[in-house]
Symmetry: C2
Subunit: 347 residues, 2 copies
């Protein structure tokens, strides 16, 4: 089974390449497994009216977060929110979570309490129960693994596959703020390291900093879609960046996408900061990542409803041109939309 005995670096495959490679060695045997590896959450048939949804998300200090500028309370909230987001991406409602914590001896009880205070706030906000976990020593730093269980009515399940030709491509909220928040925090950290007496200059940037440090899962959107009687034909959450997620939808749904540059929802704070950092705001919106907004496709019959709704922006549509992901500029010129992403904070 594993004949290649040379040393191959994991980085040659990347995260998705590695997962696809390893998934090939496994076969599902349980009739209750409706969907396994390859979407935002696994789908399980429990014999009830709803499907069960199951997902896990890990965060390591020094890889996914930096405690020099990430308050522990916000980090606890973020760990839950980003995992809950995966259940929302299936059009589901989270109900229970488990927390597995790795702690080096650097952390005191008071630090762990701060972290759990944020976890508790998130549990209240998303109405999920913390039902278990595991707390253990780690050889270095802090790590947090959050398992989320949730449910979805069978007829409302939204997978990455299912987008049809001429479907609208819709995104919630705005894009790129979490990435710009991270750029600001890293710049101020560097200034502080070089000049410890200089106070960090973060005032007036609360929105983009909050988007990085304490992002929200769009559970409200799952509820809004239900109240509008809209079931997406496909859906995903934006963790790695819009372009990367569009590639996922296209790959799973076997379609292409045309996206209109001028339609990308970008906050003015992101516009300002991007220009100050000499970055193209559209590139930030496409590749920034960590927005945790929802990206979905729906039939054209929902155009009027979505067009006038403040939570949604129609940014493009599917095409029959499988594997073609095009960004259309104001002039009408089309560019290939690569899924490179910065992926700084997603392993």
């Amino acid at each position: 089974m594993f004949e290649n005995k040379e040393r191959t670096e994991i980085s040659q495959l990347g995260e998705f390449g590695l997962i696809n490679h390893l998934a090939g060695f496994f076969e599902n045997k349980q009739p209750s497994t409706i969907m396994g590896i390859g979407d935002d959450a696994a789908v399980i048939d429990n014999g009830g009216n709803e499907y069960g949804l199951l997902t896990v998300d890990a965060m390591f200090e020094g890889v996914h977060f930096d405690l020099t500028f990430h308050p522990l309370k916000h980090l606890g909230f973020k760990a839950v929110a980003t995992a809950v987001s995966d259940v929302c991406a299936m059009n589901g409602t989270p109900t229970q979570i488990l927390i597995s914590l790795g702690l080096s001896n650097r952390f005191s009880l008071e630090a762990v309490e701060e972290l759990y205070d944020g976890i508790r706030v998130a549990c209240d906000k998303y109405q999920v129960d913390l039902v278990g976990g595991d707390t253990t020593s780690s050889p270095r730093g802090l790590s947090l693994t959050v398992t989320v269980y949730g449910t979805v009515a069978k007829e409302k399940l939204s997978k990455r596959s299912g987008a049809k030709e001429h479907d609208l491509l819709v995104v919630t909220g705005d894009l790129g703020a979490a990435y710009m928040g991270l750029q600001m925090l890293e710049r101020e950290k560097k200034v502080f390291m070089d000049h410890p007496n200089v106070q960090p200059d973060l005032e007036g940037h609360e929105y983009i900093l909050g988007r990085q440090l304490r992002p929200d899962a769009r559970l409200d959107i799952v509820q809004t879609l239900a109240s509008l009687n809209i079931v997406p034909t496909s859906m995903i959450d934006i963790s790695d960046g819009l372009a990367s997620e569009i590639h996922h939808l296209g790959m799973h749904s076997a379609c292409g996408f045309d996206v209109y540059d001028e339609k990308l929802p970008i906050d003015t704070q992101v516009m300002d900061r991007a220009m100050q950092f000499d970055l193209n705001p559209s590139v930030v919106a496409l590749n920034g990542g960590e927005d945790y907004e929802l990206l979905f496709t729906v039939g054209q019959e929902h155009y009027e409803t979505l067009k006038s709704h403040p939570d949604f922006t129609i940014i493009g549509h599917t095409t029959a041109n499988k594997g073609a992901y095009r960004l259309i500029g104001k002039s009408g010129a089309a560019f290939e939309m690569k899924a490179q992403g910065w992926q700084h904070f997603k392993g």
Copy 2:
């Protein structure tokens, strides 16, 4: 809520103290949460005929395993088996797992393939589907977090609570072998570090080494109990050591236990090794940990069935003396059975 701003070391509370302390800040809100923190797995009502069971287990290199003597394939198997064991401890059947992997750049694709080969063997053995996970960079070493989902018929759920007065205390398999295996591996590692030319002397000790490196979950016992029409009044798996688990059952069931020293099931390899290491075999059996056998209580009506069955040993019984855990020696003298455990490899 968190008024104490001094620095308190986590070690002052211990793992269970920390979990209990933090659990106090959370309240369950979901009607589907039948049982949350405090047992081997959480219990969820999905609206079907069976309950869902959910548990997570984390292992860190340098804390829970040592790759100088732990083959990656065995480690992959062990990670799944030890997590599956928690579902067995609820009298449940595991059906799906998720793996969250943290990898430093020391690990090649070939190493990860070895690990997943062991995971695959365990998935086949326990008939569970690998339905998702997360693979990410870690700042140091290897970490594995396994989430297990399973089911149990509502009337067969076995919790830590529920033991009644005069119930029999029963254990599966034998005890102490995993701990003695670890002692041998650590001794041979030390010899090898001091004298790299000396070959490790591990022949003839395959049983105890296997119990440490590649332990099994007792899913077969869940099936045997079903075929014998026996539902334990309480149950737990032995991860931290028999004495520690007896304390858990007693605390949750509000009872005491009398355990008979001469009844403790100990393999002859464990007897021999314990004496060579100048250890009392009973102490090894009581506190060694990592046996992953099942420990349960049942009504006395099952005495004849269990007494003659090769998988089970009746080692004692419950008492009304809440909080009293006594080890009765051959002479009839009773000793207090403390739950100190070595707990080397369980955070």
